[in-house]
């Protein structure tokens, strides 16, 4: 199978869906000729024109709000938010307007829009361009949240998101844009709420999202060399969440670590760990462990930044302790 980058995968998904549905359009800062700072959208404006690949002023609440209005009246906007950190700027339009409109209208108004944005530290971009804020939006009923972990997921989840009749937030790992993965030439969609078992194992389950899936897979390699069999599961969407696949795995392995690049406190890892504790308690041989980003603003200095996020070594070390029956006190 051919291999393409995550960036190319997103671009293909958008182009295919924009060809398929004339009500779709892309809106955001420097999305047209510039193709975004990460060049993910290069070429789209040449095919679809500036009417459907719309460069906006630097006004995130403004274009987010306009996307909500366009979605409510029959279009399917794909909003490009240059950095995930800018979600704080659009919270009212995303969480008070987009997320609630269908419910508040008693099901009469739909908001079929996609918010594309990103996450991920270790790019030396400091505290306002490095956050992983998926927990914030996953907290709000009415929003769906997808977290692709490779080019394959990025394309399949994006196509599903564009066809969904709800507001969907997609977090792409900005460090993964140039990473290649096998992506079929023929069309495919990845349904929401279906986790992917990336690697089967029997001793411990590593549940990881987005950027952390690679980390978990590398940790599993390390552990395999030591005779510990780790299962790696990528939920792919955290809203909706495929609880069954996660629970089935944990009931089998009896141990789990949940890994996500958002801050650990009150985060995605806490939510998933809590559900496992509630629903698989009697199958567990050890407390479910959370591994998120440290509860500090992301520092600039590489020496500091690198210790704020889980790594294959830290995941493997914790897995080793859990499997040895050592008690671990979460940070």
């Amino acid at each position: 199978m051919r291999e393409i980058t995550l960036s190319q995968a997103v671009n293909e998904a958008l182009a295919e869906e924009m060809r398929r549905d004339p009500t779709t359009f892309v809106i955001g800062e420097d999305v047209a000729e510039a193709g975004t700072p990460f060049k993910v959208l290069s070429g789209l404006v040449e095919e679809f024109g500036t009417e459907r690949v719309i460069d906006t002023p630097i006004a995130e609440p403004g274009f987010m709000g306009m996307a909500v209005g366009a979605a409510m009246t029959g279009a399917r906007p794909i909003v490009d938010l240059m950095f995930g950190d800018f979600i704080f700027l659009i919270m009212d339009q995303l969480c008070n307007q987009a997320a609630k409109t269908h419910y508040m209208s008693g099901g009469k108004l739909n908001v079929p829009l996609v918010l594309r944005t990103n996450l991920g530290a270790t790019r030396r971009s400091a505290a306002q361009h490095s956050q992983s804020l998926q927990a914030l939006v996953a907290h709000i009923p009415g929003l769906k949240v997808a977290m692709p972990s490779s080019a394959y997921e990025a394309k399949g989840l994006m196509k599903t998101a564009i066809r969904d009749n709800n507001p969907v937030v997609i977090f792409e790992d900005k460090l993964m844009y140039q990473d290649k993965a096998p992506v079929p030439e023929e069309e495919y969609l990845i349904p929401f709420g279906v986790a992917n078992v990336k690697r089967e194992g029997t001793d411990i389950t590593l549940i990881a999202t987005s950027s952390m899936v690679q980390v978990a897979e590398k940790a599993a390699e390390i552990l395999a060399g030591e005779g510990i069999s780790a299962e790696v599961i990528d939920p792919r969407t955290i809203v909706p969440l495929d609880e069954k696949t996660l629970l089935d795995s944990v009931r089998k392995t009896s141990r789990a670590i949940v890994i996500d690049e958002g801050h650990q406190s009150y985060g995605v890892t806490a939510e998933i760990a809590s559900r496992l504790n509630e629903k698989a308690f009697y199958h567990l041989d050890a407390p479910v462990l959370r591994m998120g980003a440290m509860d500090v603003p992301v520092p600039f200095s590489p020496a500091l930044e690198d210790v704020t996020v889980p790594t294959p070594d830290t995941v493997a070390a914790n897995a080793r302790k859990l499997c040895a029956g050592e008690m671990i006190h979460a940070a």
Binding site: P61, G62, F63, M104
Partner: protein, 329 residues
Amino acid sequence: MSPAKTKTKTNNEDYLRMYRQMVRIRTFEDNANQLYLSAKMPGLTHMYSGEEAVAVGICEALTDDDRITSTHRGHGHCVAKGADFKQMFCELLGKEEGYCRGKGGSMHIADQSHGNLGANAIVGGSMGIATGSALRAKMLGHDDVTVCFFGDGATAQGLLYEVMNMAALWHLPVIYACENNGYSEYTRTEEIAAGSITARAEAFGIEAHKVDGQDVLAVNDLTQKLVARCRKGEGPFFIELETYRYHGHHVGDINREYYRSKDEEKDWKENRDPIVRFRSWLVDQGITTEDEIEAMNAEVAQDAADAVAYAEAAAYPDVSEVDMHVYAD
């Protein structure tokens, strides 16, 4: 009393419908206020009484395909855009047959069948939505126009300036209708708004108008012209409508002399009431008679009473609906 300045609508039926719609709003609000005062209505609500000529003058210049976005003070917009009393009162009382199946209430009432995209409880919260609706119309080649209602208080929100900038850059078919009722919640507008409100729109190159919001014909005449120009691609436009809210910020805002005088309220009600003015004009012009007006008023009052009784007796949604409509299929 100054007669209405313009008479673009030459059909007497149109005049009488405008009058009736204004009376329907006032009557709806009087009933809603009573429901609140008698503790039959959950929560709180914001009365549109006094501002009827704004909603009716504008909405009578629109078709069902044209969209509006509304505000927390939104009953008037909803009625003027064509909503039905029964479904509105049901919504205010949280009943299943309400426009939003009781999930929205007074502050989120929406009626998409008539193009009302909904009231919004965030001040200025719908400015992006209205402008996005206009963007959609232009992009998909539709000829509908969107009117964004908001108050003077909302002019302090930054979102307005972000979306006016884009609407002007892209010539979107949207009309920003600023209902300046003199008060930003409990504060005089002159204390929160520096400079001129229309000049802010003009700074983006948007043609802005100031109109007497108590004169339904003046409002309607201006809006008809601007809507027609929007359909030709000449939008956006901005209208500041000088008006007045008879009640407080919300129904519970009773003692308000610390921010505005009773004399001022009396002056607006006695000398500038939009319904009284229009009624006099209709009779003076020989379009109708006092008797016909009284009969129309009585008919509207009966409609409202029937709708209130219907809503009071109507069923609440089944509790199983609580997690319905979080996500669309």
